[in-house]
């Protein structure tokens, strides 16, 4: 543990004096960022980046990494704090300024024009001209090729973006930054979208960049990658920087422990689960996404009445796709789903709803509500057939009575059930969604990140409600990246890593966050038999 520094990072250099020769290129001091909705995304953020190093930034979802990077790239402005670049304090008001200062960023979602060639994308906004008016195409291509060669990127710059793989798109983004003179390069979860082969290529390229004097800030969840190519790592937790240390002085277990350290202890009273019959059975589900990546790679599980089964995992390891397949939003290319022993033939939301599967989606504004319609209208979308008179007309009286009860029961803060959903706060919108989905009729409740981004009060209420409906006999599949939530709510848990289940815990009461963290990050993996225990138990 001696390698961890626990004080102010400013003093770090003093303490490890033997590394004084390192030159600080970027220094961030006491950053505070509060979003207009009152969420504190960054506070007391302090860290330094040395010139020519690959510096990892690691933390759970919502730990504030992305906000910090947006601040560095001028997309967000901090309320307080200083950014010091090459020894001078700078104000980064917009991306143009950031580019001018030699900071480049490769976003997780590429910002490329699909119909243009790689060379055109690289030159956009900065086009070489001939005769004052026209694009000098030859020069444009030559420039792109030169840069690609200089950094040893194996790409054909005249290919169109729409025809190339994700890995090549990423290379284009990196070149875009380099051509604009980026000395500090921020990569936001660059390997999330890459295949293992592409990841290896990327690492080789990053090493080349490092050799040529560039500084790289590497945001990642993947510990093994950090151990492989990064020099130092800064760990973030709950919006603040916890520690910075040399990678060679630490190990994955230590980093994992620092990352998941629990701050607020949340406690939901719940009785032990009374497990009943198997409600949902998934066998060998395989799903490939739009860019050809296998997001589900043979997932099998059984879900029983009266239990909450959590699906833990770092985002992007297939949990979202699992929820979408189980709710009929996406069609698997392989595998079967049985509900109460009956095999599902058509994968549509309507069939799943018909089998009493309800769904609290992660993106509540897109998939969970009609923002411009009233609270009352939003409470019956999936079950309007039960609120009719003469089979055609809406039974307004019944709807109104039920709405008022639900609003009271779920403590939705509103002046009337006729309020538009869009005037409510995020937490209250989520309560409306939960009030619709958590009902007596629900057999299988799929809750995907049900408390993400909402206030503590609303989170607690929704968690209590989930337990309540479990006790009423529903089977709950809880997909969450919040370890607190997983440990407090679930009776059993599985962990997903790279589209597969890599751990199954029948009983979560003795499980620790540290242990979960190892599996989530792939430091540890259970054997196939251990994982398949989920299918054997009655």
């Amino acid at each position: 543990m001696s390698s961890y520094y626990k004080g102010h990072p400013q003093n770090l250099v003093k303490d490890i004096g033997y590394r004084m020769k390192e030159k600080v290129i970027l220094k961030v001091e006491n950053i505070l960022k509060v979003y207009p909705n009152g969420i504190v995304a960054n506070r007391n953020v302090n860290f330094e980046v040395y010139e020519g190093e690959i510096h990892a930034l690691i933390g759970e979802n919502g730990a504030g990494k992305s906000t910090l990077m947006k601040i560095l790239f001028g997309i967000e402005t901090p309320e307080e704090g200083r950014i010091i670049l090459n020894g001078e304090e700078v104000k980064i008001e917009n991306s143009k300024k950031a580019i001018g200062l030699g900071i480049g960023m490769v976003h997780q979602h590429f910002m490329l024009v699909d119909s243009l060639t790689i060379a055109e994308n690289i030159a956009l906004g900065n086009e070489p001209k001939k005769r004052g008016l026209f694009i000098d195409k030859a020069k444009m291509i030559k420039q792109a090729e030169e840069y690609a060669k200089k950094y040893n990127f194996k790409i054909n710059v005249t290919d169109k973006i729409e025809d190339v793989s994700v890995g090549v798109k990423q290379k284009t983004e990196i070149l875009k930054a380099l051509v604009r003179g980026a000395k500090v390069l921020i990569l936001d979860e660059p390997t999330a979208v890459l295949t293992p082969q592409e990841t290896r290529e990327l690492f080789a390229e990053l090493k080349t960049l490092k050799k040529q004097g560039h500084t790289i800030i590497f945001i990642s969840h993947k510990l093994n990658e950090i151990m492989e190519i990064c020099d130092r790592v800064t760990i973030m937790r709950h919006g603040t920087t916890v520690e910075t240390c040399y990678v060679k002085d630490t190990n994955p277990q230590e980093i994992s422990n620092k990352m998941v350290g629990r701050e607020i202890v949340l406690h939901v009273d719940k009785k032990p689960a009374k497990r009943g019959e198997v409600c949902l059975e998934a066998n060998n589900l395989v799903y490939v996404n739009g860019i050809g990546k296998k997001m589900l790679d043979g997932v099998s599980l059984k879900l029983r009445r009266g239990e909450i089964l959590s699906v833990a995992g770092v985002e992007g390891n297939g949990q979202a796709e699992l929820a979408e397949v189980l709710t009929g939003m996406k069609v698997p290319i392989n595998g079967t789903i049985k509900i109460l022993g009956k095999e599902i033939k058509t994968f549509t939301p309507a069939t799943m709803r018909g089998n009493k599967v309800t769904y609290i989606p992660e993106d509540r504004m897109r998939n969970g509500c009609a923002a411009k319609l009233s609270i009352m209208d939003n409470l019956f979308t999936d079950k309007i057939e039960k609120y009719l008179k003469l089979k055609i007309f809406l039974d307004r009286k019944k709807m109104k009575k039920q709405s008022e009860e639900l609003v009271k029961d779920f403590k939705v803060k509103c002046s009337s059930i006729n309020n538009q959903v869009q005037v409510l706060s995020g937490g209250n919108i989520q309560k409306v969604v939960a009030a619709r989905e958590l009902t007596e009729e629900a057999q299988i409740i799929i809750a995907e990140q049900p408390t993400r981004g909402i206030d503590a009060g609303a989170s607690e209420l929704i968690r209590r409600k989930i337990v309540e409906y479990r006790d009423k006999g529903a089977a709950v599949l809880l997909i969450s990246a919040d370890l607190n939530e997983v440990l407090e709510l679930s009776d059993s848990a599985i962990v997903m890593h790279n589209g597969r289940i890599n751990a199954y815990f029948k009983d979560t009461s003795t499980l620790t966050e540290e242990e979960l963290g190892y599996y989530m990050l792939g430091v540890k993996n259970q054997s196939e038999e251990e994982v398949n225990a989920i299918l054997c138990e009655k």
Partner: protein
């Protein structure tokens, strides 16, 4: 039947195709620019109409048809920018903005025409003049071809040149690259520090120039007066030509020509027993068909691409 062939395969027929095609080509080039920038500009219809009227006024009360053309172009730019201001800066739905603008254009032009010449039908009373026709040396002496290609209004030649100009602008200049990016991926533009809003304003301005020229041709070339609602949906046709031509200058121009042929055909066939209405209907029906074919192709190629990726 021979009468039909005679009227179609005459030099006069092909001459009239070019004449009829002129405003369609110009307007469709305007539509190409805006749709590349990501805007469906139904307002081009109204832009043409307003420019046609201001051109006539400027010509009659100012310094003749050339001055009229200039004022038409300026009007076109201002109107387009106004549409842009309302839809982009005041954040009104762009289709609604355009429909509102077209409504105002149809009524407003009549209002001002009446205010000036006390006639609600045409400005025939004004001696507003005509933009000159050009004899093309050398070409005019070629038999047949000379008769078809020479002696057109100067704006018709401009229209043909504009196809080339728009092509060069879109594919050979930095601005064109930015316009195409603004339509396909505005965040890609922002990520390199270029404002996509500004780029869209510029695209609208250029479409205004083209719409203004189209309007000027209508009232100072095609005929020599302004008449109520004289554009009669040509702006919409331009929009369809753009869609059918997949927003490429050459494709849109060819689609516009197809309309022009059908329109000229409907005039030529009036002397025959074939119903002109069916001929007039043809280009619109063909456009719908073209749009369907284009969409089917696109959706199946998208699917194939996904499958291909999945395989790898």
């Amino acid at each position: 039947m021979s009468q039909v062939f005679e009227s179609i395969f005459s030099t006069g027929f092909f001459f009239s195709v070019i004449r009829v095609a002129t405003p369609l080509i110009l307007a469709s080039m305007g539509a190409v620019i805006t749709s590349n920038a990501g805007i469906t500009n139904i307002g081009i219809e109204g832009v043409m109409l307003v420019s046609a009227l201001t051109g006539v006024f400027a010509s009659a009360y100012g310094f003749g048809p050339w001055f009229g053309l200039l004022i038409s172009i300026i009007t076109g730019v201002l109107c387009s920018l106004a549409i842009g201001y309302v839809s982009m800066s005041l954040k009104a739905d762009s289709a609604l903005t355009c429909i509102a603008f077209n409504t105002m254009a149809v009524g407003g032009t009549v209002y001002f025409m009446y205010a000036v010449v006390k006639d609600k039908g045409t400005t025939i009373a004004l001696n507003s003049g005509k933009l000159p026709s050009l004899e093309i040396p050398l070409i005019k002496d070629i038999p047949v071809l000379g008769e078809i290609l020479s002696n057109h209004n100067v704006v018709s030649y401009m229209a043909l040149v504009m196809i080339f100009v728009v092509y060069v602008l879109l594919y050979k200049t930095p601005l064109g690259l930015r316009i195409r990016s603004a339509g396909k991926a505005p965040n890609a533009l922002s990520s390199v520090g270029v404002s996509f809003l500004k780029t869209r304003y510029i695209a609208l301005g250029i479409s205004g120039v083209l719409g203004g020229m189209a309007g000027a041709f209508m009232s100072m070339g095609y005929v020599t007066w302004f008449s109520k609602n004289m554009t009669a949906g040509r702006g919409f046709i331009a929009l369809a030509a753009d869609a059918m031509g997949n927003s490429t200058p050459l494709g849109a121009a060819l689609s516009a020509m197809l309309f022009a042929i059908a329109e000229a055909l409907s005039y030529a066939l009036q002397i025959t027993t074939i119903s002109p209405e069916l001929v007039q209907m043809l280009p619109y029906a063909v456009t719908i068909l073209g749009l369907i074919i284009y969409s089917v192709k696109k959706s199946s190629s998208d699917k194939k691409k996904r499958e291909q990726l999945a395989k790898n």
